[in-house]
């Protein structure tokens, strides 16, 4: 257990992200970034089964679970940002979510999830004596949500369930830009004063929801023999980011920071999805999430020539996926016990003129008799952008999920 926590801390120290929108909210993790869902292109919010567990867009699903499911997701993101014929490569590691669902039979099911909904992460430097560049930039931010949820099947319509979850928002963010001097505007006699004097433009802040403890998701789901589907609605909310702007000369030698708050109106989200069983153990599925931004996002600006706002657009994700479920019988051949997945998605970012297309393949490898599974997803795609500030990115991602399935509270039949 100690080792596991060590591992969690290690991964949490990195945060996944793209270089797009770092001064707005950062990158959003779709469908809580679980490795299972990622393997089928983030589709499958309506898919039920033993090894599905909690999904943020559809809290009603866990009402159909019969076993306790715990999963922990890791993400390794590799991407190359390109613009003006120049490219920039970087990689990040992160822990986008972990989820726990706990079914209680006729009493419904409880779920608890920790989800890094938005994140920024960047640590790069450049030093070039010819162009006089001497900069080190660091972004480290995440909007974390703790999501307790409850779902229950209706008394007479056992194929229908209702789910409700509460999103408690916390997190922090920082931007640190350390710069060396450019003495080209001062006389040679004055250059001595700033030699080796590094300055850091430093901003740090914390996240919460303005005037409210949380925001909420409600969903309804129908599970049929062939087709299952869900609808969910997530309330809009206002994120409050309390920022301290500062100049730092060293860790201990700083100015007194100036406090500026920014608020971000995150609109309500509508999500729906369907799962269709083609044949025994063969499923196709499609999901849609849609959110209409009507206000621009104030940047962590107030410095240099940074724009004050990031323009927004309607933000949606369309995803389609396929999954062949593995056999649950331990004595079947191993290849037959593996679940195979494939999928693709199109995502319109919340940032104007940025969209993303990606595809993925994945598999779930059962380990041992007890129901431990490793989910693996390989993803690739491209983020397109028309704006100057956001460079286009080609990305590859490897997601790994550790899933534990237990049958606590189940009586032997």
């Amino acid at each position: 257990m100690k080792k596991l926590f060590g591992l969690i801390l290690f991964f949490a120290a990195f945060a996944s992200a793209s270089m797009i929108g770092v001064d707005a909210l950062g990158e959003e993790q779709i469908a809580s970034g679980s490795a299972g869902a990622a393997g089928r292109g983030f589709a499958g919010g309506a898919k039920t089964g033993e090894a599905e567990g909690f999904v943020v867009t559809n809290p009603a699903r866990i009402a159909f679970d019969t076993k306790v499911v715990f999963n922990l997701n890791f993400l390794m993101d590799l991407y190359s940002a390109e613009s003006h014929g120049k490219s920039y490569f970087t990689e990040t590691l992160s822990l986008p979510s972990f989820n726990l669902s706990f079914p209680m039979g006729d009493f419904g099911a409880l779920g608890l999830s920790l989800w890094q909904s938005y994140s920024t992460s960047l640590l790069e430097d450049v030093k070039d004596s010819v162009s006089n560049a001497d900069a080190k930039i660091e972004y480290q931010g995440s909007v974390y949500e703790i999501i307790p949820s409850y779902a229950v099947r209706l008394p007479f319509f056992r194929g229908v369930s209702l789910g409700f979850s509460v999103h408690i928002v916390l997190g922090s963010n920082m931007r640190s830009l350390t710069l060396g001097p450019d003495n080209s505007d001062v006389s040679e006699d004055d250059a001595w004063a700033t030699n080796n004097s590094l300055l850091t433009d430093y901003v740090e802040g914390s996240w919460e929801i303005e005037n409210h403890p949380a925001y909420y998701t409600g969903s309804v789901m129908y599970r049929g023999r062939v087709a299952s589907f869900y609808f969910s609605y997530t309330t809009g909310h206002t994120l409050l980011n309390k920022l301290d702007f500062d100049f730092r000369f060293s860790e201990l030698d700083t100015l007194v920071p100036n406090r500026i708050d920014r608020t971000i109106d995150v609109p309500a989200m509508f999500a729906t999805g369907i799962n269709y069983r083609l044949a025994r153990r063969h499923n196709v599925m499609a999901d849609l999430q849609w959110r209409s931004w009507d206000a621009d996002i104030e940047n962590i600006g107030h410095s240099y020539d940074m724009p004050s706002y990031t323009e927004t657009q309607s933000d949606f994700v369309v995803s389609v996926g396929y999954q062949r479920d593995g056999s649950g019988l331990y004595y079947d051949p191993y290849w037959d016990r593996i679940s195979y997945r494939a999928g693709a998605w199109y995502k319109n970012w919340y940032i104007k003129d940025v969209f993303e297309m990606g595809g993925s393949i994945g598999a779930a490898f059962p380990l041992g008799k007890k129901g431990t599974t490793i989910d693996l997803a390989l993803q690739g795609g491209k983020r397109f952008s028309d704006s100057k500030a956001n460079w286009e990115e080609t990305f590859m991602a490897i997601r790994l999920g550790l899933m534990g399935i237990g049958s606590w509270g189940q009586t032997r039949r």
Binding site: S80, E91, I137, L179, W192, A193, L199
Partner: protein, 470 residues
């Protein structure tokens, strides 16, 4: 099972890194381009701003601490408006001696102090000024406490130095006597002996069998400040010795002081003049008005100063370095050794609502130092004094909304041996010798800042800003 997971994870990581190395490549300065596209710079543009004609709104000197330990060096005499008394703290217990003293035909005592020769024979010391010879008018005062048991001596030893020093500020002698001594300190002299007034022995006689004796030597009209070894030096410890004469036989009792202290007295009162003394902890506190500096910044940036938005803490720009230059005139000041003396600077900054005095850093302008010496010295060529007040200016502009003046402090530091050495620290030369930048002892001088503070000073700021260029 665990092993399998670790192997799988490691394998995937290696695979991913290998793949990425083949697929992607970073351009060296692509980050500069990315920063530019975000509206961020890849270096800060240095700008300088000069504010002329700054006259202090207030300048005031403050006397420092009055009592200093004399365990390393003992001083006696007067120089440059300050006199220093030497106080010896002695405790002894000897019943046989007190019995002898009671019966003695006569008794006498003296103090012997070892001259601090390394100073007087040093190359830096102006050797032509030796020997120091004068008739020293000295006031000797003393306090005697009577004790009995062995515990008495222990209880004296247990009195903390700080307690003793505080007592010395309120010195009330039991008895005193004025006397004169012929004193001569030359390069070859090593000991100076003062025979003490006979009345001391009369008082000691009453004290026994254990006794604490405090002797204060005071020579406020001396022509020099004489330097001796302190009480802690084993080889050259100060000697206090008593001698009895009984039945044509002399008997000696030595009782060296277990600690000594110097008590400092300011002798000159020049009214409103702004005089600082070397080797004393007196300080000059100067305040400059906010208005001129704020106006210059407002004109320079075209923005409102002081800043009033949000919390009102101004982080729109940063002071990378700030330097104040004063017009300097060394006449009217008095140096002992003729060496340049460093001026130490501190600024008063606001830290969480508390005024805090912070000593300033000194950044070297090496080409200038090599050419014309450090700019922060007095008793030196040239007619200006430049002091760096970076920390103070940062805080002052950052919190200008409070409307406070810019407040700084000056103090005289050590004499400088190598005024044009750009290292500003002791170092070992290629030949293996140590190059000393500072003389390790103070010059007991006085410097008059009055004319400097009556003339306008110039503030130069090296600034970096967060403002955009567009």
């Amino acid at each position: 099972m665990k092993k399998k997971k670790v192997v799988l994870l490691s394998f995937l990581t290696i695979l991913a890194l290998t793949l990425s190395a083949c697929l992607f490549d970073s351009d060296n300065n692509a980050l500069s381009g990315w920063l530019k596209d975000q509206g961020l710079p890849d270096s800060y543009r240095v700008q300088t701003l000069t504010v002329d004609g700054l006259l202090p709104v207030s300048a005031k000197t403050y006397e420092g601490r009055k009592v200093f330990s004399a365990s390393d060096r003992a001083l006696l005499g007067a120089q440059a408006g300050i006199s220093r008394d030497l106080v010896l703290d002695i405790a002894f217990r000897d019943s046989a001696f007190f019995a002898e003293l009671d019966n003695a035909d006569s008794a006498i005592s003296f103090v012997a102090l070892y001259v601090f020769n390394p100073f007087y024979t040093a190359d830096e010391f102006p050797s032509d000024s030796l020997p120091y010879e004068e008739t020293l008018e000295m006031n000797v005062s003393w306090k005697v406490e009577r004790g009995k048991s062995k515990d008495f001596n222990d209880s004296i030893a247990k009195i903390a130095d700080s307690t003793w020093h505080a007592e010395l500020e309120e010195w009330e002698a039991d008895n005193s006597a004025d006397t004169t001594y012929e004193i001569s300190v030359g390069a070859k002299d090593s000991v100076v002996t003062f025979v003490l007034p006979l009345a001391i022995m009369e008082d000691i006689k009453k004290a026994g069998p254990a006794c604490r004796l405090q002797i204060r030597l005071s020579a406020p009209n001396a022509k020099h400040m004489y330097r001796f070894y302190g009480s802690s030096n084993a080889s050259f410890a100060t000697i206090f010795r008593m001698r009895t004469f009984l039945d044509e036989e002399y008997k000696d009792k030595a009782a060296s002081p277990f600690r000594m202290a110097n008590v400092l007295t300011y002798n000159e009162d020049c009214g409103d003049c702004l005089v600082l003394h070397g080797g004393a902890f007196d300080s000059l506190v100067v305040e400059f008005p906010s208005k001129e500096i704020m106006e210059a910044l407002a004109e320079f940036y075209g923005d409102d100063f002081p800043f009033a938005e949000g919390d009102g803490f101004d982080v729109r720009q940063a002071v990378v370095l700030a330097q104040l230059t004063f017009a300097r005139d060394d006449s009217g000041s008095e140096s002992e050794l003729g060496l340049p003396v460093q001026v130490v600077v501190g600024s008063f900054i606001d830290s969480m609502g508390t005024e805090l005095r912070k000593m300033e850093n000194y950044k070297l302008n090496r080409p200038q130092v090599v050419e014309s010496g450090h700019p922060n010295m007095v008793f030196f060529d040239g007619d200006s004094l430049s002091l760096q007040v970076t920390l103070g200016m940062r805080s002052f502009i950052n919190q200008a909304r409070n409307g406070d003046n810019f407040k700084m402090m000056l103090r005289l530091g050590f004499p400088v041996l190598q005024a044009k050495d750009s290292t500003y620290m002791n170092y070992e030369t290629a030949e293996g010798d140590t190059s000393f930048v500072f003389l390790g002892v103070f010059d007991y001088n006085r410097y008059d800042f009055t004319s400097m503070m009556n003339q306008p000073a110039t503030l130069k700021l090296w600034l970096a800003t967060k403002r955009g260029e567009e």
